[in-house]
């Protein structure tokens, strides 16, 4: 049966009433309903829909007409109530973002004309092209993307250098620019230490330790892991070093590098000797024996951080930062249990573990299978972030599965005495990796205990109190599961070694004056670089949307470029576009 409600002099526009009709037509027991203003044309529509009633004759163009078909008279009041509620609550909740999202580079630059940093995280094959565009627009580049060729890397870095810009990366996972965390990064207190690093987790380990020691970092400029290779020649690192030399708030410069090419290393050190500021260096794998002039040389990442903090605070530099008391009481192992199995999500942390193990075991650098940093005498250190483990799978900083599989296998191996691992916190990492690993660790421990063995789990948590994850909570969770948690990777590795009765041969380092030649270096920097290090970056974020989060939170400005392959990846169309765009008569 048809019922008519006429709300006199109650005008709403037609779109609104169509939405209202949709909203009330879901009321159960209402066969059909239409809400319209009483214009002649609308009355025709109502009659075409079989909803015409005589009451409508009196309704005018400013009267709202509600006609419903229902067998239940009570529904009329329900509908009227629903209509009133709808009309009273028309405001649409705002889903506002703190940044704009665009779909082209041009639009990004129009939206943020003063942008000076492109953060690129698109698939490797497209990354170089985006970096070119960024440089052409006068932007510095932070290139998170990997799988960029040496040729492209060199070309881009030379182009940037010529333009007075910086290319951080490719494969640059982490960075801090003017206190703003970029990409997969820990939140570190600001201070007077400036870092240049050719190692992502190396930077993370050093910055987090600095932070927990009460120091602070103003910049951590990543260069990409290949910057100190002979093919690239440290183009980025040298420009970044000069930038920090010119940056007044930076009082200590800290250099972190994976094993470099010899001549490139020497070139970098030559530049460092010409600086006015004290410098701490770590070239992973090298075991320095002294500090010389303004250059302090570290063996471990922890030592790097500690020397940096002491320099930054004006403290005296100690002879040895590495030897710490890490003894574990009452170790109970079977005679077969002699090996350490290290499963790292951070490549440089794994490398450091392999270095310390080799040192303690007096091993020559041997060949390890792909994906392993060390395999000797039953010991294993695996870099689970290596491509061979991450193809088609999430990175171990995000997903615990690969690591759990390795841990289970290690526990089945009767020679395993210690399982060593890292938990890396910060933006981009799992929100609760300790919690995710916990059930598996507990299960593995109880399984081996049932077989009458003890396997020791030793871990380090790389993070700060300010990180999005709760640093203390992560430590506590691991400790409750019986994991021995140490403050640094250095200490964790030494703990593992001590469990099987080994120690590292530490060197006490003296400070000596540098007596060699100091080259005359041009230490001046471009206005663009000066701006990059003296102000909060204005970011065009190309690729992963989540990278906007820390920038916004820590006071940077960002426009997100929701990047897609040109022409949706249609190669023929991309080629035609390219031809048309570069056409000239």
């Amino acid at each position: 049966m048809l019922h008519t409600i006429i709300k006199k002099n109650s005008y709403q526009d037609s779109v609104n009433l169509m939405l209202l009709t949709n909203a009330v037509s879901v009321i159960e027991g209402v066969e059909k309903i239409q809400v319209m203003m009483g214009t002649p044309a609308n009355k025709d529509i109502l009659s075409a829909a079989g909803l015409y009633t005589d009451e409508l004759a009196d309704a005018g163009a400013n009267d709202m007409c509600i006609v419903l078909d229902t067998d239940n008279e009570e529904k009329v009041d329900e509908v009227l109530a629903a209509v009133d509620e709808y009309l009273n609550n028309q405001a649409i909740s705002k889903s506002g973002n703190d940044f704009e999202t665009v779909r082209t580079f041009d639009k990004a630059m129009k939206t943020m004309p003063d942008a000076n940093l492109a953060v690129i995280s698109v698939a490797g094959q497209y990354a170089a092209n985006e970096a070119d565009k960024a440089l052409d627009n006068g932007l510095n580049v932070f290139m998170f993307s990997d799988n960029v060729s040496f040729e492209d890397e060199r070309r881009l870095k030379e182009k940037a250098h010529d333009k007075g810009l910086l290319v951080m990366g490719p494969d640059c996972g982490t960075g801090v620019i003017s206190g703003i965390p970029i990409a997969f990064t820990n939140v570190v207190k600001e201070g007077n230490i400036g870092i240049v690093g050719a190692s992502g987790t190396g930077i993370q380990e050093v910055t987090t330790i600095i932070d927990r020691l009460g120091g602070g970092v103003v910049h951590a400029l990543g260069t990409g892991g290949r910057d100190l290779s002979d093919k690239i020649g440290a183009i980025t690192m040298m420009d970044a070093i000069k930038a920090l030399e010119n940056h007044n708030p930076t009082e200590v410069i800290t250099i972190i590098s994976k094993p470099p090419a010899k001549e490139v290393r020497d070139r970098v050190v030559q530049l460092l000797r010409s600086l006015s500021k004290p410098v701490v260096t770590i070239f992973l794998g090298e075991k320095p024996e002294k500090h010389e002039g303004n250059v302090y040389q570290a063996y471990t990442l922890e030592e790097t951080a500690r020397i940096s903090v002491d320099l930054a605070k004006g403290n005296e530099i100690k002879e040895d930062y590495n030897a710490v008391d890490v003894a574990v009481d009452n170790v109970q192992l079977t005679p077969e249990q002699t090996s350490i199995k290290g499963f790292y999500s951070g490549g440089t942390l794994g490398y450091e573990a392999a270095t310390l193990l080799s040192d303690a075991l007096s091993l020559e650098k041997g060949k390890a299978a792909e994906g392993f940093l060390l395999q000797a005498n039953g010991h294993e250190i695996a870099d689970l972030g290596d491509d061979i483990y991450t193809q088609g799978k999430p990175h171990p900083m995000i997903d615990p599965d690969t690591r759990v599989n390795f841990m289970e296998k290690a526990a089945d191996d009767e020679s395993t005495a210690v399982v060593l691992f890292d938990v890396v916190l910060g933006y981009g990492s799992h929100s609760d990796m300790a919690g995710a690993l916990l059930p598996s660790i507990q299960r593995i421990k109880s399984n081996v205990e049932a077989k009458g063995r003890n396997v020791y789990f030793v871990a380090t948590v790389c993070g700060t109190e300010q990180d999005p994850q709760d640093y203390q909570d992560q430590r506590q969770k691991l400790e409750q599961a019986g994991v021995i948690v140490r403050d640094s990777n250095n200490q964790a590795v030494r703990t593992a070694l001590s469990i099987i009765g080994l120690t590292v041969n530490d060197v006490k380092k003296q400070h000596v004056e540098y007596t060699g030649e100091v080259a005359q270096e041009d230490l001046s920097i471009s206005p663009e670089l000066d701006k990059l290090i003296n102000s909060k970056p204005v970011v065009v974020n190309i690729g992963l949307k989540s990278f906007t989060e820390p920038v916004v939170k820590y006071g940077g400005r960002v426009v997100h470029y929701d990047w897609r392959p040109v022409a949706g990846g249609n190669e023929r169309m991309a080629k035609i576009l390219n031809l048309l765009n570069s056409y000239s008569k």
Partner: protein, 421 residues
Amino acid sequence: MNYNTIDEANRAVLDKIVGSQPFLVDVVPAKSVISELNNGKVILHAGPPIKWEDMTGPMQGSCVGAALFEEWADNEDDARNMLANGEVEFIPCHHVNAVGPMGGITTANFPVFVVENRSEGNEAYCIMNEGIGKVLRFGAFSEEVINRLIWMRDVLGPTLSKALKIKGDGLNLNVMIAKAITMGDEFHQRNIAASLIFLKEVAPLIVQIEGLSDKDQQDVLQFLADTDQFFLNVMMAASKAVMDGARKVQDGTVVTAMCRNGKDFGIRISGMGDQWFTAPVNTPQGLFFTGYSQEDANTDIGDSAITETIGVGGFAMIAAPGVTRFVGAGGFDDALKTSNEMLEICIDQNPNWAIPTWDFQGACLGIDARKVVETGIEPVINTGIAHKQAGLGQIGAGTVRAPLACFEKAIEAYAEKLGLI
């Protein structure tokens, strides 16, 4: 190619758009300005070329209505036979300097707006809006529909013509558009402000017409006052005039027309002249009157996407945030998002048409077919939705996207023309 680069050519097209001067100068019988309509039985239709048997229900219904209106037949069956047996020639409106809404059906005795683009000296034509409800453009052809068309032919058209003659130099449409865009119109789904401005301009002229009966005067003013979308057809003619003037630059990748015939979506680009690049049309999504649903919706139809081509309609959603609600429970942010997205495929913004709700940024200007292909962002079109059966008329309104394939074909053809592939 007369320009050094495609960007330069496109700039030349844009300069002509921005510099255009469309004036509404007259309302005349279509046959007096479109000579093709004088050669036997000819029907103009919306979209790229289409055969009778491929037309969807509403367009066929409109053709039946036109045959009845022109008195080629006096019943539906005879009309359909005549339309099917090849006796009637079909020509796209776009081929004769015209555009038509929905079916776009236009025959000799339809009164049409005449818009003169004084910067380029060209003209464009469009039939007048019939109002809402049962109307020819949605395929209705009942007696009521035909009677209204006869009244428009005999009273409305001549009256507006006389009014415009009293005005003398025509109505400056750029000015009216610029005003209305600040009053919440986007000129496709919403034209109420522009229609009122139109009424404001012509009412004082209409009352000056000598010999106009009181009844006719009352009927005309009432019709204009009642017809919220009256200006849509003026806007279409203006857009056509401007885009045709601009495409005298025969280079570049600026989209100069978008239209649909219910089967195909067709576009033209500046560098490829009159050639159509087509792909199957999509079906609009939106809100429906009671008793109708998405299943009843006809495929996309009409030349009205000429408004999006010039940078308004769906592209100017931000000027008319209320219209956004046709795409669901959209609000101001969605309107903003839509216009911002469309800006990504346009080359510039039109300083003549500043949009207050967009911080006075100009309306979108110049869709670049290259950008559409590069980003995969398909132009959004605000549109009425016809019932797929003839005669049932409008059943809702919503939005629809132009298919990407048209743009891919266009740039491919242009690259070929330039000898690049």
